[in-house]
């Protein structure tokens, strides 16, 4: 018996009636124009189908082989974060009028998605201080890469500078996107874990499209932002940022220090880590760059009766119209994750977001002090941190993580493969989800590691 019958409504009698209406004798004849050499005679070699009950059991077994973040406290960050998600988020994203719709091409019956995108765009603008935002991109990494491509387009230049304190995975994606177009990427070195702006004098010139920074940077350090915008703008280049949206509740809005494009990972806003995807790339920019923004954008307008309504606007930037001259090839985005982000931000409100960010700041600082007080654990970099911090270890991070896992703790991110100059080192992330008891336990377990 074939699987999935409860998804297929046609009955045998209906199939026969419909085949007769078309004028063919059998379903097989519907495929008669396929060359015989490629037409499958035997079925595909796949395991026999499972019923719903069996499928749930099978998927449950696979899930049970994993140790997840609701089971073991985790100190991993590095681009994907464990923040608390209020129940209301999943209940709204679980409304199937939203999640079973596609891109809102037919605005009259898509006002729900369109208005929610418009509200999301507005919240992203307000967080970053930018004047325009899009409906979402795949993740923080591709959002930064798209920003670099856009900067090259605006300036008609073919080279960007990226700080070595930008997430190494993001830099790898950036490299792929830029290489594909034969654009160049140069790395700005670090001093004490922060971008060495003194190097910009020599590196930034009239061929530079943009400087790409992360704030807080990959080590959780807050970069000094008074200098860079002026330095790059002097050469006609753009300042492009990858920012943690939760940090923006407390930290300076990127518009305050001259950013031209602000991107980042929006997973932190109400989306589970989900093994690294689906995530949420956000992309915001100054109004003068509006037509260089990739992807969908919702805009406000009026209907035939003068009522407020929303449409996808500036569609001529996009692939389905401009084809090979489009701002980007993106079509499907991460709309449902953007909806989650909007619900999350609205649920928290300004006070809640400041509180969550404040807890991250306090708890990370507390943990940093505790860990770096231990014998052999040394703070890698001084300076203000947000929710992550790097620690030099007395042994390898891999071994430490194995040890922590034995103690039902998911340890931090192993920095050494990406920053060999640090030696054995780990990036810890502490969010509002951790309790003092868990943090004290972590320090206790670390103390016992030898």
């Amino acid at each position: 018996m074939s699987g999935g019958r409860h998804y297929l409504p046609l009955t045998g009698a209906e199939r026969r009636e419909m085949l007769a209406a078309i004028g063919v004798d059998s379903a097989g004849q519907l495929f008669d124009e396929l060359p015989p050499a490629i037409r499958l005679q035997e079925g595909l070699e796949l395991p026999p189908p499972l019923s719903e009950m069996e499928a749930l059991a099978h998927l449950g077994e696979l899930a049970a082989k994993n140790r997840h973040l609701r089971e073991y406290p985790s100190y991993l960050g590095a681009g994907v974060y464990d923040h608390f998600i209020p129940s209301v988020v999943a209940h709204i994203t679980g409304r199937s009028e939203f999640y079973t719709a596609y891109t809102p091409y037919q605005a009259e019956i898509s006002q729900g998605v369109l208005q929610s995108i418009f509200e999301y765009q507005t919240m992203i603008c307000r967080l970053t201080g930018m004047e325009a935002a899009n409906a979402s991109l795949y993740d923080g990494a591709t959002a930064l890469a798209e920003a670099a491509v856009a900067a090259c387009g605006v300036t008609r230049r073919r080279r960007v500078l990226v700080s070595r304190a930008v997430n190494p995975y993001y830099r790898r994606v950036l490299q792929s996107y830029m290489e594909a177009r034969d654009f160049a990427v140069e790395e700005v070195p670090l001093v004490e874990g922060k971008t060495d702006y003194t190097k910009l004098e020599a590196m930034c010139d009239q061929n530079t499209a943009a400087l790409l920074l992360q704030q807080p940077n990959f080590f959780g350090l807050l970069e000094e932002m008074n200098g860079p915008a002026e330095r790059v703008h002097r050469h006609g280049a753009l300042l492009v940022l990858s920012a943690d949206p939760i940090s923006l509740a407390l930290c300076r809005a990127p518009a305050e220090y001259g950013s031209d494009i602000v991107t980042g990972e929006g997973q932190v806003l109400g989306n589970p880590p989900s093994f690294g995807g689906p995530l949420l790339g956000f992309f915001a920019a100054r109004k003068k760059l509006l037509r260089r923004i990739p992807g969908r954008i919702a805009g406000e307008t009026k209907d035939s009766e003068g009522r407020r309504g929303f449409v996808l606007t500036l569609q001529t930037r996009e692939q389905h119209i401009r084809r090979e001259r489009a701002a980007s090839n993106i079509c499907s985005n991460q709309a449902l994750n953007a909806l989650a982000a909007a619900v999350y931000l609205a649920a928290l409100g300004p006070a809640g977001l400041r509180e969550a960010a404040g807890h991250c700041l306090q708890k990370a600082a507390y943990t940093r002090e505790k860990i770096t007080a231990l014998q052999g654990f040394e703070q890698a970099f001084a300076g203000p941190h947000f929710k992550e911090f790097a620690v030099k270890l007395p042994g390898s991070a891999k071994d430490l993580n194995r040890y922590l896992l034995e103690h039902k703790i998911i340890g931090g991110f192993d920095l050494e493969p990406h920053y060999p100059e640090l030696g054995p080192a780990m990036l810890f992330c502490v969010t509002e989800t951790k309790t003092k008891a868990q943090l004290d336990d972590l320090a206790g377990v670390l103390e016992g590691w030898s």
Binding site: R291, Q315, T316, I321, R322, R325
Partner: protein
């Protein structure tokens, strides 16, 4: 015919009009072109000073769901752009012959432009419209 074709102008096969005065040519789009494009919502203008070559896209015209190009009718250099179009692209729909887009200073010895007189252009429009 439904579309105006103004006397005293030269035309291109890509539906630009060109008005010559010494070595300066003023370029816009024809009534037929604006009607095919429908409501123009955005005009992407070139920089003044940019070199123009016959048949090369100089300006991008956008309607809600289409993008089309304005092609240079002559070799030369862009000497002026109509910045009013940045805020009021609808002028192209409202008054296509009264709304210039770019002015080009013709380059001496450039490629011979392939321009139509109004009668030949009218025939071209009729042919395209009938298709």
């Amino acid at each position: 015919m439904k579309w105006e074709i103004r006397k005293g102008l030269k035309y291109t096969k890509t539906h630009e009009w060109a008005d010559f005065a010494d070595d300066l040519v003023t370029v816009g789009i024809t009534d037929y072109a604006q009607d095919m494009l429908k409501d123009v919502v955005y005009v992407e203008l070139p920089e003044v000073g940019r070199e123009a070559r016959v048949g090369e896209s100089l300006v991008v015209l956008e309607s809600v769901k289409a993008v089309s190009d304005l092609y240079a009718p002559v070799d030369g250099a862009v000497s002026a752009v109509n910045e009013a179009l940045l805020d009021q692209p609808e002028l192209l729909n409202e008054d296509p012959y009264g709304t210039w887009v770019v002015k080009i200073k013709v380059k001496a010895g450039g490629a011979a432009p392939d321009l139509l007189e109004e009668g030949d252009y009218a025939a071209l429009v009729k042919e395209e419209a009938d298709q």
